[in-house]
Each structure stands twice: as C-alpha cells, then as structure tokens.
C-alpha cells in the first residue's frame, strides 16, 4: 500500500518572482488521508494550487507517477488528480447527477455522452458520498454540506488516484465537518485513493488523518503522522500566539486564561475538571488543597450538592450547579480579601 503516489521535491511556490515558501519536499503515499495545516497566509492555498497545476511553480518539481504535473497536458492530468475547490460555483439549473456526471468528462467523447459504465460509476460515486437521494435536486437548493458531498462525488467519478481538496470543511457546521472528514477517511480506506486536503480543523485532522503536512510561518514544511508530530512537539511552534496553548496530551488547543488569583480545591473526577474550567474562565487557577488549608473548595462526586466552600474548616455553602457555585466562590474571594485587609489594618 505504501507506494508513493505524488512527490514534491524542493518546491518553491509563490507569485511572479516573490516566493512564499521554498524547499518544500514531501510525499503522498497511496491510500492515505493527508491534511495540510498552517495558519492563514502561510501559503496553503498556493501550495494546493501549485500541486494541482493551476499555478506555475518558481522552482522544483511536483511528480505524480514519475511525471511532472506541470508538463502533463490537461487531459493527462485530469486522469491523475481531481479537485474540490473553494470557488463558489453557481451553475444555473445543474442537478447533482449532472455535476457528478461532468466528473466523467476526461473519459467521454466529443459530445460528452456517457455510456453505461460511466453512468454506473456516477451512481456509485453518489451512493458512496451519501448524496444519491438528492440526485435530481438542483445544486443551488442544497445545503453547504450536501453541496460539498456532491463535489466530492464529482471528484470520485473522475476516478483519479489522487483527490485534492482546498478547505472542504470551511463554512460548514461541526456535524457537517465531521461527516465530510469521515467520508474522506472512508474513501481513503476503501478505494485506496490518496486524499490531500487543507484545513483549519486541527482536532479533526489529528484524529482522522494518516499524515499531516504542517506549513510553517517561515515557509517550511514538516510532515509526519499526527502522533509523531505530537512527540516532536511540532505544533507549539506552528500556532505560536498569545492566549493559545497547545496541549500535547489531548492534542487540543486551549485558550490561555490570565490567572490572577488562586484557590485551593480538594477533589477529582469529572465534576472537578468542569469546575476547574469554569474557574479558569474567571481568572481563578486551582491549587491542590492540603489538609492545612482551612479555606478551600471541596468537590464530592455523585452527591446531590457536589460543590462546597469551606471557610475555617466549616462548610458554609453547597451548590448543585456550577454557575451558582462560581458566584459564591467570587463572593468568598471578596470576603477573604476584605478579611485580610481588616487584619492588616487592626
């Protein structure tokens, strides 16, 4: 399975004489789902367009099946790479089936008539993408997610070893994003086709892709399996930004809250984690409560009122809901501050 399908070698991409990124080298093995990640302006779309042959490269090669993409004719290339673009296409009166049918164009004759084989391939592509029930609907009547599925079906019908998608999940809501990603995952698994997609959904990319391409701000490309990249700490440098921290253990970004005060908490488990998150939002960080902490919060899991505040080892309030409890914690903090001040004054 691991024969390399597409290779980019020392690729320099950019416009005119201005290079955006250079010395890019990577491979796409057969049957893998690869996600291209990078913050805005790093040249993701430019790289995608250069690989598709839409845009001339400033140097280096894109080799597919040993041929340079930029020397192949449109017809030859159309049987190697199919694309799903961000271009918003408004084709008047086009039904889903017609769009998917246009995917067969590289194989049909002068008039574009499809034979029975072509029609079967189109039908299968629509079934695989779960859009067959909408085959007679106009593209303009579809939701964003359905339209994306129709375009993926078009790419499938084109029957190329490589499918390239430019941000297929942008503009979609979360369920639709997950659905599209899982669809692409299935296509890679069952058909042996390779898929390269650019995306901003890091969490989905980490869970679903075989390999990531990280386009760095400096214009270099780091590639590897998501897990290896986590081991190599590759993400921290990529999304370096104030207010964001990347948690290697969960593979998720976290908003970095500025913490001003601390509070001691005794407890563990799900309720504890939720409380910690809610407190972090208010700028309160948590320390582990030791036995000598007389002022503390206790979390008792699975009880009726799991969250309690202790002042001088005395339970003064218990709450069921975190929202109400947070208000109490804030009150308590004010109280403690005033208490300290009055101690100091007397």
């Amino acid at each position: 399975m691991n024969i390399s399908l597409l290779q980019i070698q020392n690729l320099i991409i950019g416009y005119g004489s201005k290079a955006i990124a250079d010395k890019l080298s990577a491979v796409i093995p057969s049957g893998e789902l690869i996600c291209l990640l990078g913050s805005n302006g790093t040249g993701k779309s430019t790289l995608i367009r250069s690989i598709c042959g839409f845009q001339p490269v400033l140097g280096g090669n894109v080799l597919i099946d040993k041929f340079d993409v930029h020397t192949l004719s449109e017809r030859e290339l159309s049987k190697q790479i199919s694309v799903v673009l961000t271009d918003r296409v408004v084709v008047p009166n086009a039904s889903v089936e017609e769009l998917v049918g246009y995917g067969r164009s590289p194989y049909t004759g002068m008039l574009g008539r499809m034979n029975t084989d072509d029609k079967a391939i189109v039908l299968n592509a629509m079934i695989e993408c779960g859009i067959v029930h909408k085959r007679d609907c106009l593209l303009t009547s579809l939701s964003d997610g359905e339209r994306q599925k129709a375009f993926i079906a078009k790419a499938l019908a084109q029957d190329t070893p490589l499918i390239i998608l430019d941000e297929p999940t942008a503009f979609l809501d979360l369920p639709a994003r997950v659905e599209i990603m899982q669809l692409l995952r299935n296509i890679a698994n069952t058909s042996g086709k390779s898929i390269l997609m650019s995306t901003h959904d890091l969490d989905l990319a980490l869970q679903l892709s075989d390999r990531l391409w990280l386009l760095q701000n400096g214009g270099s490309l780091i590639t590897g399996s998501p897990e290896d990249l986590l081991l190599r700490n590759a993400f921290q440098s990529m999304f370096q930004h104030k207010g964001i921290v990347f948690d290697n253990k969960t593979g998720l970004f976290k908003v970095k809250h500025t913490q001003s005060t601390q509070v001691a908490v005794k407890g563990h488990g799900f309720e504890y984690v939720l409380l910690r998150r809610a407190l972090a939002r208010k700028g309160i960080s948590i320390t582990k409560a030791y036995s000598y902490d007389s002022n503390r919060i206790e979390v008792i899991n699975d009880s009726k009122n799991p969250f309690s505040i202790y002042l001088d080892d005395e339970c003064i309030v218990s709450e069921e809901s975190i929202e109400a409890f947070i208000k109490q914690v804030l009150l308590m903090q004010k109280l403690l501050v005033e208490k300290k001040r009055s101690c100091f004054l007397s």
Partner: protein, 346 residues
C-alpha cells in the same frame, strides 16, 4: 426521475411542432389574405390560380420565414454561448458590443466609401452586399478580440460588460461623425440597415443565409461539452481536462461568427440573443448544453418567427421594424428572469 425523462423526450418534438406551426402562420398570415389551400398549393410547387399570391408567397413570405428561422436560431445559440462563457445571465451579442462593432464596420463601408471614392455602395449590387457583409464580420470580430483580450486581462465579468457598453457608445459616436459627412442616400441606407429586417433577401439568398446560420448553430452542439465544463469555472474545467484557452476561443469564434452573419444580413437584431437562452433554460431544467443548445435553436427560431408575425400583423398596412417587436417580447422575458433570480437569492 421518470417524469423528467418523459419531459425531456417529449419536449423537443413538441417544440418542433410549435415551430412548424409558427412557420406555417408566417406563410399564411399577412396584409394580403391568401386562402390556406392556395398557400399549401404554392409552397408545394403547384401552379396557383393567382400570380400575385404566388409572388407574395415565394418572393416575400417564404424568404422572410427562412431568414427569421435562421437568424433566430443563430442569435439564440450565440446568446447562450455568451451567457455561459461570461457566466452572466445578461450577456448577449448586442450587450457585449459585438453588433455595435458590426454597425461600425458597416458604417465605415456604407458611409465612408461614398466620401473617399465618391460612389454609393448600394449601387454596387452583389459586390456592395458582400462588402457590407465583410465589413460587418470585420467589425464584429474586432470587438470580439477586444472583449476577449479584456476578459483575459481583467477577468471580471462586470468590467467586460461595461467595456462592451462603452464600445457601443464609442461606435455610435464614430458612426455619428461618419453620418455627418456622408451622402444622404448612404445615411438612409445605413439607417434602414440599422433598423433590422428579415425581409431583405431573395429566396436564393435566404437559402444561403439559412445554410450559413443553421449549420454553425447545429455545429455548436460540439461545443456543448466545453460549455458544460466552462460553466463550472475555469479551474474545475481545466481540472476536468479542458484546454481553457482553446475552448474559449472556439466559443467566442462560434458566437461571434453567428452574430456577425446575422447582423450582416439582417442588421442588428436586439434582444433575441439575450432572451432566448433564458427561455431555453426555463423549459428544461438542465445544465447540459447538449439540450440547452437544441432548445436555444428551436426557441430562437420560434421567437424570431413570432416577432416577424407580430411585425406584420394582419390588418396593418406596413411592417413594423423588427427590433421594436423583439424588444417588446424580449424585455419582459429578461425582467421576469431578474425578478425570479431576486426571489431565489433571498
């Protein structure tokens, strides 16, 4: 699904029948009442009892019907090609300044020749007509080349449309200057040419005209695959194996040639080229240009025949200029399309 197939298979025979009825009405109706059995008799080549009726039918109504048929077909197809190429529902031969180019070319020949060589072109008979046709073709293609150049350089459809309208104004003003310095006879000829008419040709020339409009209109079917892909946008089209530049050139050549031929023989006919494509898209809900071109052929011919019929409604002494009738039919069609679009968009 079944009903769509049924509709597709029934549509073309029904509209051809409709077309034949319109053609028959064009032959049968006019300011002179001719009994229907006589009309049939004369058209079938039998001798008629009335030589005047025979003359009216064979010298006036028959060539008019044939010319209207060919011109309508050509303009409908040319408009469809333009609308798809520029992805603009308001594109059409006259909007893009192609017929203005023709007018300018004809203006130069009809008006300037008298000044430079001191004779009126209208006295040259067949050679004069040929010069008008060549000038019309030359003007149309010059504008086409310019429009194509601009659309390549700037890209925006709106700017292309504006340039087209500007070319229209420009050629009008040049023609105005030419008129000012021309012989009265030439100006009169030019004005008559500009009003548009289906009734300038003898029956022999009408057959020739029909051949050089109907054959390219039907040959446009071979562009249907290119048009289908172009409708998806340049990148998708190129990815599906289409040589964009060649396809664009062929489409513009075909549409431009059709427009130029019609304009050369009939003068600038407005609105048919813009309104018919909308009718063609309205009657069959498809984006496949194989069907749309057929529809545009039939509906274009039918619309022109209808306009010709209205231009010489029975009971009227003289014929109306054809352009006043086409605008009367075309404008409501275009307005209704805009109205419908507005509803779809919101």
């Amino acid at each position: 699904m079944r009903s769509i197939l049924l509709r597709k298979s029934i549509l073309i025979p029904v509209s051809i029948l409709f077309l034949l009825i319109l053609a028959a009405l064009n032959l049968a109706l006019g300011s002179v009442r001719i009994p229907i059995e006589e009309v049939v008799n004369i058209i079938l080549g039998n001798d008629s009892s009335n030589i005047i009726w025979e003359n009216i039918l064979l010298r006036t109504r028959l060539p008019q019907t044939i010319v209207a048929l060919g011109a309508g077909m050509a303009l409908g197809v040319a408009g469809l090609l333009m609308q798809t190429l520029f992805r603009n529902p308001l594109a059409g031969p006259s909007v893009l300044g192609i017929s203005s180019g023709s007018s300018l070319g004809v203006g130069f020949v009809l008006l300037l020749a008298g000044q430079v060589w001191g004779f009126s072109f209208s006295r040259l008979g067949i050679w004069g007509d040929l010069a008008v046709i060549i000038a019309s073709l030359g003007g149309a293609f010059a504008v086409l080349a310019l429009i194509l150049f601009i659309s390549n350089k700037i890209g925006g459809t709106l700017s292309v449309l504006i340039i087209g309208v500007m070319i229209g104004y420009l050629s009008n003003s040049i023609v105005g200057v030419l008129k000012f310095y021309s012989m009265e006879e030439d100006v009169h000829n030019y004005v008559i040419w500009g009003l548009g008419s289906f009734s300038r040709m003898s029956v022999d020339r009408a057959y020739l005209f029909a051949a050089i409009t109907i054959i390219p209109s039907i040959l446009a079917l071979f562009l249907s695959k290119s048009l289908n892909l172009m409708a998806l946008g340049d990148r998708y089209a190129s990815n599906l194996g289409l040589k964009i530049k060649r396809a664009r050139l062929l489409i513009i050549l075909c549409a431009g040639a059709l427009t130029a031929i019609v304009t050369a023989f009939c003068g600038p006919i407005i609105f048919i080229g813009m309104a018919v494509p909308h009718l063609a898209k309205l009657v069959s809900r498809t984006s496949n240009h194989l069907y749309l071109i057929c529809n545009a052929c039939i509906l274009g011919a039918a619309t022109a025949l209808l306009c010709n019929l209205l231009a010489r409604l029975p009971g009227m002494e003289s014929e109306l200029p054809i352009n006043s009738v086409t605008a009367f039919i075309g404008a409501p069609v275009v307005i209704s399309v805009i109205w419908k679009k507005r509803k779809e968009n919101f």
